[in-house]
C-alpha cells in the first residue's frame, strides 16, 4: 500500500509502484520528522506502536503488490486470449480462492492480531508502574492540569523526562481526547468517567498534541504542549508552580482584580478566584495563550484580551474594553506572573 521496505526517517523510501512513488514524494516533501508524527516516536509507548506499524505496512505493501500485479496482468493479457480459452475449465480457481483468501490471509491476520494483542497488554501493564500522577481536565476548549503538590496550570504539561507519568483524564463538559502522537496513543475524556493514560518522553523537549475527539466550535484550537524537563528541572518547576504568584505590575494587578478578569480566572496571591477559565498564577511561564492558538507575545496577549473572538471564534472568553494605559499595565502584569 505504501512504499516498500524499511522506511527510515532520513532514508529515501524506495518502491517501483506508482502509489509507493506518491508516498515517497509526499514524505520527501514534508519529511517524516513532523512535530506530531506517529512514526517518529519520542517515548516508549509511541515506539511500541511504531514498531507495530512498520511490519504491518510491509505486509500490506506486499499484499497490495501481489493483488494489483495479478489484477493488472490479468487485464493486460485479456487482449491475447480468445473467448474459447475464457470458457475453459479452471480447476485451480476455487482452491486458489481458499488458499489465498482464507489460509494465507488468515495466517497473516491472526499473526498480526496476536502481535498487536501482546503490545496492547504490554502497554496496559506498563501503566501500573507509574510514580507520578497528573490530573488533566478537559474544558471547552482548553486543558486544566493539576499536580500532586497542589499546583494548577493549563494547556502546557510539564513532565520529567525518562519517567512514566500517569495522567488521570476527566472532563468538565463534553467528550475530549488527549493525544500527543510522539509520546503515545490517545485516550478519551468521558463525562462521569476517569480514564488513565501513561506518558513517557525519553528526552527533554517540547511535544505537540491536540484534542482528538470532536468537541464543538473550537475543537481545532484545543492544543496541548507537553514539556519534558530533566527530573531535577521538573522538581524545581513543579515546586515553583505550586507557590503563589510572583510580585508583578501593581497597576496591572488592580486592572485584573477590578475588571471582569478575576470573575473567571484564578491568580493565587491576588484577589482573583474565578474557576471558569484557566488558572493564570504562573501565566508568564507559558509559551502560548488561548490553549496554543498563538505564541504568548505582548501583542497577541493584548489582542486576546480585547478581541478574543478574532483569534478563537466561539471561545468562552469575552472581549474586554480597556483604556490603552490599563491594557498595557494588564499585559505587563500577566507577563510578570513568572
Amino acid at each position: 500500500m505504501v512504499s516498500t521496505g524499511r522506511v527510515g526517517c532520513r532514508r529515501r523510501p524506495a518502491g517501483s509502484l506508482t502509489v509507493a512513488g506518491a508516498v515517497g514524494v509526499a514524505l520527501a516533501a514534508g519529511g517524516c520528522t513532523g512535530d506530531s508524527s506517529v512514526v517518529s516516536p519520542k517515548g516508549p509507548a509511541a515506539s511500541s506502536v511504531a514498531g507495530l506499524w512498520w511490519p504491518m505496512l510491509v505486509a500490506a505493501t506486499a499484499v497490495f503488490a501481489f493483488v494489483t500485479g495479478m489484477l493488472l496482468l490479468a487485464a493486460a493479457r485479456g487482449r491475447r486470449r480468445t473467448e474459447e480459452q475464457a470458457k475453459g475449465a479452471a480447476a485451480w480457481g476455487e482452491p486458489f480462492i481458499v488458499f489465498a483468501g482464507v489460509v494465507v490471509s488468515g495466517i497473516i491476520l491472526v499473526g498480526f492480531f496476536v502481535f498487536s494483542l501482546g503490545r496492547m497488554q504490554a502497554l496496559a501493564d506498563a501503566g501500573h508502574k507509574t510514580k507520578l500522577t497528573v490530573g488533566v481536565v478537559g474544558h471547552d476548549w482548553w486543558w486544566e492540569v493539576r499536580y500532586p503538590n497542589g499546583a494548577v496550570s493549563a494547556n502546557e504539561i510539564h513532565i520529567p523526562a525518562g519517567v512514566k507519568v500517569e495522567l488521570a483524564l476527566t472532563t468538565d463538559d463534553v467528550i475530549h481526547s488527549f493525544w500527543v502522537p510522539r509520546l503515545g496513543p490517545k485516550t478519551d475524556m468521558i463525562p462521569g468517567q476517569r480514564n488513565r493514560l501513561w506518558l513517557e518522553a525519553s528526552q527533554p523537549g517540547t511535544y505537540r498534541g491536540q484534542c482528538a475527539e470532536f468537541c464543538g466550535l473550537q475543537h481545532a484550537n484545543m492544543l496541548i504542549r507537553v514539556v519534558a524537563d530533566t527530573p531535577a528541572d521538573f522538581d524545581a518547576w513543579m515546586a515553583r508552580e505550586a507557590e503563589p504568584a510572583a510580585a508583578s505590575d501593581a497597576a496591572g494587578q488592580r486592572v485584573f482584580e477590578t475588571q471582569t478578569c478575576a470573575g473567571c480566572h484564578t491568580v493565587r496571591g491576588a484577589e482573583a478566584k474565578g474557576t471558569i477559565g484557566p488558572d493564570l498564577t504562573h501565566f508568564g511561564r507559558r509559551d502560548t495563550l488561548g490553549a496554543g492558538v498563538r505564541p504568548r507575545t505582548p501583542e497577541n496577549l493584548a489582542r486576546w484580551i480585547t478581541d478574543p473572538q478574532s483569534l478563537k471564534p466561539g471561545t468562552t472568553m469575552p472581549p474586554t474594553t480597556l483604556a490603552p494605559a490599563d491594557l498595557n499595565a494588564l499585559v505587563a502584569y500577566l507577563d510578570g506572573l513568572r
Binding site: 502509489v19 506518491a22 513532523g34 498480526f112 498487536s116 503490545r119 496492547m120 490517545k186 505537540r208 466561539g314
Partner: protein
C-alpha cells in the same frame, strides 16, 4: 390454477393491464418498480452533488493553514451534513435504486412484492431528505457530526434545533429504509422465476438481500438511540447525561451497533455490482460463486460484532478490546475471498476493458487499499494512535468511495443502457474514469500520511509550521479533479440518453435475466416469465430474447393479467399467481401526513401534530380500505 400459471400472454392484453398513462397523475401515483428505481437513483445522485459540494467547500477551507473561507460553525455543519448526506441520502438510496430497478428484472418478476410499499419508501426518503435540509433554510443544520456524540449533542451543549433535525430526520428516513428492505427480502425470497433456486440467484441479488437483512437488524439501534436522544433533549430524560445518572457511552454503543453494519450495508450491494459486471466482461461464469455468496453473508453477520473498534480509545477493559480486535481482523477474510474470486475469474477469462469493467478494476485497487488499512485499525494500539486522525478518514473513504461509489459508477455505465435504451459514450466514460481515479487518489491517499503525522479530523483549520500544508493542497486539487470526473459522467449520461448509440436488449452479452427483455423494459417486464435452468440463463438458454421466453420453451404468461408469479423459497417452484396492485395515491398521501407528524414534533405545535397524526391514520385506512379485489399490500 395450473392453466393460469401457464396461460400464454399477448402483448396487447399485458399492455392494457399494466399501462400507466403518462402525466402528472401517474407521476404521483405510480407503483412501477422501474420508475421508482430511477427516482431513487436520480434523487440519490442529486444528494451526491450536494454532499460533494459540501466536501469541496471543506477542502477549500483546508487548502492551507489558518484560512477563513468559512467560520467554525459552518464548517461543523458542513462535515456533519456531508456524512449524513453521503450515508443516508446518497449511498443507501442509490444502491436501493439499482436494487429496485434490477432485482425484479434479474429474478424474472413483473414488479416488487409490495409495489405500494415501494412507492412509500421513495416518497418517505425524499420527504426525509427535504426535512433534513430544511434546517439549511433556518441556518440550523446538524453540527455534531453524523456520529452525533452526546453530551455535545444534548440540549445543554447544542440548545438549538440542529440536533432535532438530525434525530427526527434519521428516524424518518429509517421508515423508508426499513420498508424498502422488507420489500427486498420478500421479493427475493418469494418471487424468483421458476427454476431460479437460491444457488442460481445472481450475486447482485444476494448482495441486495444481505443489505436488506442487515438493515432490518441494524437500523432499530439507531432509531432507538434517536428516540432516546429526543426524549432527553425535549422531555427531561437522562439516558446519556451523567448528571442524571446517564451514560454517554450508551449513545456510542447504540450508534455503532448500527453504524458499523451501515458501512457494510453500503458496501455489500456494491460488491454485488462488481460481481454482476465481472463475468460479463470476462466472458465466463464467476469462479467461486458459492464462496462469494458465503462471504457476503459472513460479512453481514460478522459486521454486527465489530462495533467497539470505533471506541478503542474510550477506556474500555482490554479483554473486551481483544475480542472486538479479533472480529475486526477476521472480517477482512470474507472481503479477501471475494477479491481473490474476482481475480481468479479475470485470470481464467478474457477481460474486456469497456468502461464498466474499468470502473470495476479501479474499484478493486481502491478497495484493496482500504482493506489493507482496515487491519491496522483493528490492531488496538495502532488504532489508539491514529483513530480520529486523517488516517481513518483515508481508510473509510477508500472503503466507501472506492468500494461503493466506483461500483455505482460501473453500474451506471453497465445498466443505464437498459434504462434508457442507449449506450453511454465510451470515450467520455474512460475520461471520466481516469479523472475520478487520479483525483480520488490525490484526494485521499495523502490523508494516510497526514493522519500518521498527527492531523486530527473534524478540525476547521490547523496551525502553520506542522508540515501539513503541502499535502492538504494536493488533496484539494484532487477533490476538484474527482468532482470533474463525476461531472463528465453526468453530462455523458444526459447526452447519451438522447443521442447515444442504441443499445438493443443485450448490449454487453450479459448472463442474467435483465437482458432478456427490451431496453427499456415494458411496464410488465416480461411477456412470459422465463423458466430458469442455469446460473447464467442468457448464456445457456438460447431461447431467451428481448421478449423473455416463448411459452413453448417454458415461459409463463399468467394469462396476461396484472399479476406475477409467487414461487417457493429454496427451489423456486411455482406456487401462486399474485395479483399486483394498481397505481395508488395513498403512498404519497401517507408520506405527506407522516412528514407533517415529524414537522409537528420538530416545532412542537401539538395541535398541528394531532391533526397530522389523524391524517396519517386516515391515510393508512384509505390504503387498506377493501375494494372488492383481492387484498393487496
Amino acid at each position: 390454477m395450473a392453466t393460469v400459471i401457464t396461460g400464454a400472454a399477448s402483448p396487447e392484453r399485458l399492455e392494457e393491464a399494466w399501462h400507466e398513462t403518462p402525466g402528472l397523475g401517474s407521476f404521483l401515483t405510480t407503483v412501477d418498480h422501474k420508475r421508482i428505481g430511477k427516482r431513487y437513483l436520480y434523487t440519490g445522485l442529486l444528494f451526491l452533488v450536494i454532499g460533494g459540494i459540501e466536501s469541496l467547500v471543506m477542502r477549500i477551507q483546508l487548502t492551507h493553514s489558518n484560512l477563513h473561507v468559512v467560520d467554525p460553525e459552518t464548517y461543523n455543519q458542513l462535515f456533519s451534513m456531508h456524512g449524513v448526506t453521503m450515508m443516508f441520502l446518497f449511498a443507501t438510496p442509490v444502491l436501493s435504486g439499482f436494487g429496485n430497478y434490477l432485482v425484479p428484472l434479474m429474478i424474472g418478476a413483473r414488479d416488487m412484492a409490495f409495489p405500494r410499499l415501494n412507492a412509500l419508501g421513495y416518497w418517505v426518503f425524499l420527504a426525509a431528505g427535504l426535512f433534513l435540509y430544511s434546517s439549511f433554510v433556518v441556518h440550523r443544520l446538524p453540527d455534531a457530526g453524523w456520529f452525533n456524540y452526546t453530551p455535545l449533542s444534548d440540549s445543554v451543549y447544542t440548545p438549538g434545533p440542529n440536533i432535532d433535525f438530525y434525530a427526527l430526520g434519521l428516524i424518518f428516513v429509517g421508515i423508508s429504509t426499513t420498508a424498502g428492505s422488507i420489500n427486498f427480502i420478500v421479493t427475493i425470497l418469494k418471487m424468483r422465476a421458476p427454476g431460479m433456486s437460491l444457488d442460481r440467484m445472481p450475486i447482485f441479488v444476494w448482495g441486495e438481500l444481505a443489505m436488506a437483512l442487515t438493515v432490518v437488524f441494524a437500523l432499530p439501534a439507531l432509531t432507538l438511540a434517536n428516540v432516546m436522544l429526543e426524549l432527553e433533549r425535549r422531555a427531561g430524560f437522562h439516558f446519556f447525561a451523567p448528571a442524571g445518572g446517564g451514560q454517554p457511552l450508551l449513545w456510542q454503543h447504540l450508534f455503532w451497533i448500527f453504524g458499523h453494519p451501515e458501512v457494510y450495508l453500503v458496501v455489500l450491494p456494491a460488491l454485488g455490482i462488481a460481481s454482476a459486471i465481472i463475468p460479463t466482461f470476462c466472458r465466463r461464469p464467476m469462479i467461486g460463486y458459492t464462496y462469494i455468496v458465503l462471504a457476503e453473508m459472513a460479512i453481514a453477520v460478522i459486521g454486527f460484532g465489530v462495533w467497539v473498534h470505533h471506541m478503542f480509545a474510550v477506556g474500555l477493559p482490554t479483554i473486551g478490546l481483544g475480542f472486538i480486535s479479533l472480529t475486526s481482523f477476521l472480517v477482512v477474510i470474507p472481503s479477501g475471498v471475494q477479491i481473490f474470486a474476482w481475480l481468479a475469474t479475470m485470470w481464467a477469462g478474457k477481460p474486456v476493458l469497456r468502461t464498466p469493467m474499468l470502473f470495476v478494476i479501479g474499484f478493486i485497487i481502491l478497495f484493496v487499499i482500504g482493506g489493507l488499512s482496515g487491519p491496522m485499525l483493528a490492531a488496538v494500539p495502532l488504532d489508539q494512535q491514529v483513530t480520529d486522525s486523517y488516517f481513518v478518514v483515508a481508510h473509510f473513504h477508500y472503503v466507501l468511495v472506492g468500494g461503493a461509489m466506483f461500483p455505482i459508477f460501473a453500474g451506471i455505465y453497465f445498466w443505464a443502457p437498459k434504462m434508457t435504451g442507449r449506450l453511454l459514450h465510451e470515450g467520455w466514460g474512460k475520461v471520466s474514469f481516469w479523472l475520478m481515479f487520479v483525483g480520488f487518489n490525490a484526494l485521499f491517499f495523502p490523508m494516510h500520511i497526514l493522519g500518521l503525522r498527527g492531523q486530527p479530523r473534524r478540525t476547521y483549520t490547523y496551525q502553520a509550521g506542522q508540515g501539513w500544508d503541502f499535502l492538504n493542497l494536493v488533496e484539494t486539487i484532487g477533490a476538484f479533479v474527482l468532482a470533474l470526473g463525476i461531472l463528465v459522467t453526468f453530462v455523458n449520461w444526459v447526452w447519451s440518453a438522447k443521442r447515444g448509440e442504441p443499445a438493443g436488449h443485450d448490449p454487453w452479452r450479459g448472463e442474467s435475466l435483465e437482458w432478456a427483455t427490451t431496453s427499456p423494459p415494458a411496464e410488465y417486464n416480461f411477456e412470459n416469465i422465463p423458466t430458469v435452468r442455469s446460473r447464467e440463463p442468457m448464456w445457456d438458454q438460447p431461447e431467451l430474447g428481448p421478449h423473455g421466453q416463448p411459452p413453448e420453451a417454458g415461459g409463463r404468461g399468467l394469462g396476461g393479467g396484472h399479476n406475477t408469479l409467487g414461487t417457493s423459497l429454496l427451489e423456486a417452484e411455482p406456487e401462486v399467481v399474485v395479483p399486483m396492485p394498481h397505481e395508488s395515491p395513498w403512498p404519497l398521501l401517507l408520506t405527506v401526513a407522516l412528514a407533517a407528524v415529524f414537522v409537528g414534533l420538530l416545532i412542537r405545535e401539538w395541535v398541528f401534530w394531532a391533526v397530522a397524526a389523524v391524517a396519517t391514520a386516515i391515510s393508512v385506512a384509505g390504503w387498506f380500505w377493501p375494494r372488492g379485489e383481492t387484498q393487496e399490500t
